[in-house]
């Protein structure tokens, strides 16, 4: 059976074929469009609709319950094409302009008669009363500055329906959207809703209720509907803004480092999510992960923008197929992402630790000066760095595509006459053996020049190594009686608490001379 639509014309319910419905709606819209601007328009439209209902009623019987396209053609033949009706009734009212202007509310459509690509700018121009050239320029500019302009254009292309019928083309250039005619539109919509909801008490019953209370309630209803409408537009607008801003950020993050991406000149480090993900994920999976990430995060954002536009411009389109397809796509990408992450997570199954030691050639009783290399000395320029937390504990350097992580330094008595540096390197891996390999690969730089021990602020996972929860604890063991002086700034890598006789916090230790006691550091006078 072909799908039919149930409609209500003047309080009478009809079952009507889809194509017949489309034709009837187009017809009524054109009539509506013409008369809506006239004082008695509503009544004329009602009369015509009533007559159409009557004619249709005469065309159905026990055997034939559904209105077909032929029925509609016949009814239109009897009632007359809109042009004939308008021509015969235009009685040259005084002062009325000759050109027929559509007086109904303006709606947003894509203008296929005035299009370069999809008619989006043409339609937007008609809606906002701007020359589309400016909009095209704006979109082009947006695209050059930020590739994201294209994405917005495509979304608009999908969401805005094309003006197909004459009626829609008229609606596209209808009355400009202002507060007063929003109210007008809303009232119209309210009527439509009302007629749709109530089928038994038909419009005649409604018209009879002319007493004050009913009018008041009607008026109140209108006010509420207007407010609701305005609220929806506001919500739509905020959806739109939120979606657009986040999408712009996402696009930047995902594609920013690609050579074809138009903009490179940010003050921010030229961070690329692609490279960054490379620290964690198998490079083979990276393209898949990136696409999935774009879809998983991007689809809800696009949906937000889409919904926002629909709410704002009151676009009524059915997009169940589109919605379902997108949802399935989103589901697939999310599942893929989760699966790949799970596969990646296996590399964190086991933990292992290795310990390396180095003997420092420092004469006992002498003073050891502890310095930290600056980031610049390590070859990390400040504008290339991406820092994750306030303490600079983890840093990511864009050009090297390397993760830099702070070690923790503890200072202890050595128990003999030798100064020793002990490196406890930890990492995770699929097996304990692999974990040991990753731990082994940790790279950390230091040097001893006479009395000066110079250490790096960061270690790296090592060449070709991925992030495997590496950890580096450094234990500096010095003989009892050795004096140690820590340079300012060293507190950043000191362990949370270092035993000392003054119970000083770690950030109070630098800049002072400490003597190693049997158990802890003792402040030198």
């Amino acid at each position: 059976m072909r799908p039919t639509i149930k409609i209500n014309i003047s309080g009478v319910i009809f079952h009507i074929d889809e194509d017949a419905y489309a034709r009837l709606r187009e017809y009524l819209t054109e009539i509506n469009t013409h008369f809506a601007g006239q004082a008695e328009g509503k009544e004329i439209i009602d009369d015509i609709e009533t007559r159409i209902a009557e004619l249709l009623q005469a065309r159905i019987n026990e055997q034939k319950q559904v209105i077909s396209l032929d029925d509609i053609h016949e009814v239109i033949r009897i009632m007359g094409e809109p042009e004939d009706i308008f021509e015969a009734t235009e009685d040259g009212k005084e002062g009325e302009p000759e050109t027929r202007v559509y007086a109904g509310p303006r709606r947003l459509y894509r203008d296929s008669d005035n299009s370069v690509l999809g008619g989006v700018c043409g339609g937007l121009g008609a809606y906002f009363g701007i020359d589309p050239v400016w909009l095209r320029l704006a979109f082009a500019l947006l695209f050059i500055l930020h590739g994201f302009g294209l994405l917005v254009y495509i979304i608009l292309w999908i969401v805005i329906p094309k003006a197909r019928t004459t009626a829609q083309k008229l609606e596209m250039r209808g009355k400009a959207v202002t507060v007063t005619n929003i109210e007008h539109t809303v009232r119209e919509e309210y009527e439509r809703v009302k007629e749709g909801v109530q089928d038994i008490p038909n419009s005649r019953a409604y018209r009879k209720t002319t007493n004050g209370l009913n009018q008041f309630i009607h008026g109140l209803g209108q006010v509420i509907v207007v407010l609701f409408k305005a609220f929806l537009i506001l919500i739509g607008f905020s959806f739109l803004v939120a979606g657009v801003v986040t999408l712009a950020a996402l696009v930047t993050l995902l594609f920013h480092h690609f050579p074809w991406f138009p903009i490179q000149s940010w003050d921010l480090p030229s961070f690329s999510l692609n490279h960054f993900l490379g620290i964690f994920f198998d490079p083979v999976n990276l393209p898949v992960i990136q696409v999935c990430l774009a879809l998983t995060v991007g689809i809800p954002l696009v949906a937000l923008v889409y919904g926002g536009i629909k709410l704002m411009f009151r676009i009524r389109t059915r997009d169940r197929v589109l919605g379902l397809t997108t949802f399935i796509l989103w589901l697939i990408s999310t599942i893929t992402l989760v699966s790949l992450s799970a596969i990646e997570a296996r590399h964190f199954r086991r933990e292992n630790r290795i310990v390396r030691t180095a003997v420092l050639d420092v004469p006992p009783g002498d003073t050891l000066f502890l310095h930290m290399r600056s980031r610049a000395d390590m070859g990390i320029a400040d504008n290339e760095i991406w820092i994750f937390d306030d303490d600079d504990d983890v840093a990511y350097v864009v050009d090297d595509r390397t993760l830099f992580i702070r070690p923790e330094l503890d200072i202890l008595p050595s128990g003999n006459e030798k100064a020793v540096m002990e490196f406890r390197q930890e990492a995770r891996g699929y097996t304990r053996e692999l974990a040991a390999v990753h731990a082994e690969s940790i790279e950390y730089g230091w040097s001893l020049e006479g009395k000066h021990l110079i250490i790096d602020p960061y270690y790296t996972p090592g060449a070709g190594e991925k992030f495997r929860a590496q950890k580096l604890d450094i234990r500096l063991r010095i003989p009892v009686g050795t004096v140690i002086y820590m340079e300012e700034g060293l507190e950043d890598i000191l362990q949370w608490h270092i035993d000392n006789d003054r119970d000083m916090r770690r950030w109070e230790l630098p800049g002072k001379y400490w003597t190693m006691g049997k158990e802890q550091l003792i402040l030198s006078p």
Partner: protein, 108 residues
């Protein structure tokens, strides 16, 4: 200036007069008026009548009441008001004068 256009213009002016004339004999539904007008070949399509009826009603020439219908929605039942009757009388006079004037010119 084509002939169809001129004919349509002439008819347009007379149409309102015809509606009032029909209703002066019998009050009736829009569909009755349409039938008569169609018989007289004054109109071709029904859609043209409704705006005229509404305008005449709003001008106080016509009044209507709702009548239930055995088939379909309730219908408007139109009749002439007193003002409508006066208006029609004036139009009758004007029409006669117009016909005389035209005949006078054509016979010359």
């Amino acid at each position: 200036m084509n002939v169809e256009n001129a004919k349509a213009q002439m008819k347009k002016g007379v149409l309102e007069y015809c509606i009032l004339s029909i209703l002066s004999r019998n009050s009736g539904y829009a569909s009755d008026i349409i039938r008569e007008l169609k018989e007289a070949r004054m109109i071709v399509v029904e859609g043209t009548l409704y705006p005229l009826l509404t305008r005449q009603k709003n001008a106080g020439l016509l009044s209507y009441r709702w009548e239930e219908s055995s088939q379909g929605p309730p219908r408007k039942y139109y009749e002439l008001t007193d003002k409508g009757r006066e208006f029609l009388n004036e139009l009758d006079t004007a029409w006669n004068e117009l016909v005389e004037a035209v005949q006078f010119i054509r016979k010359k």
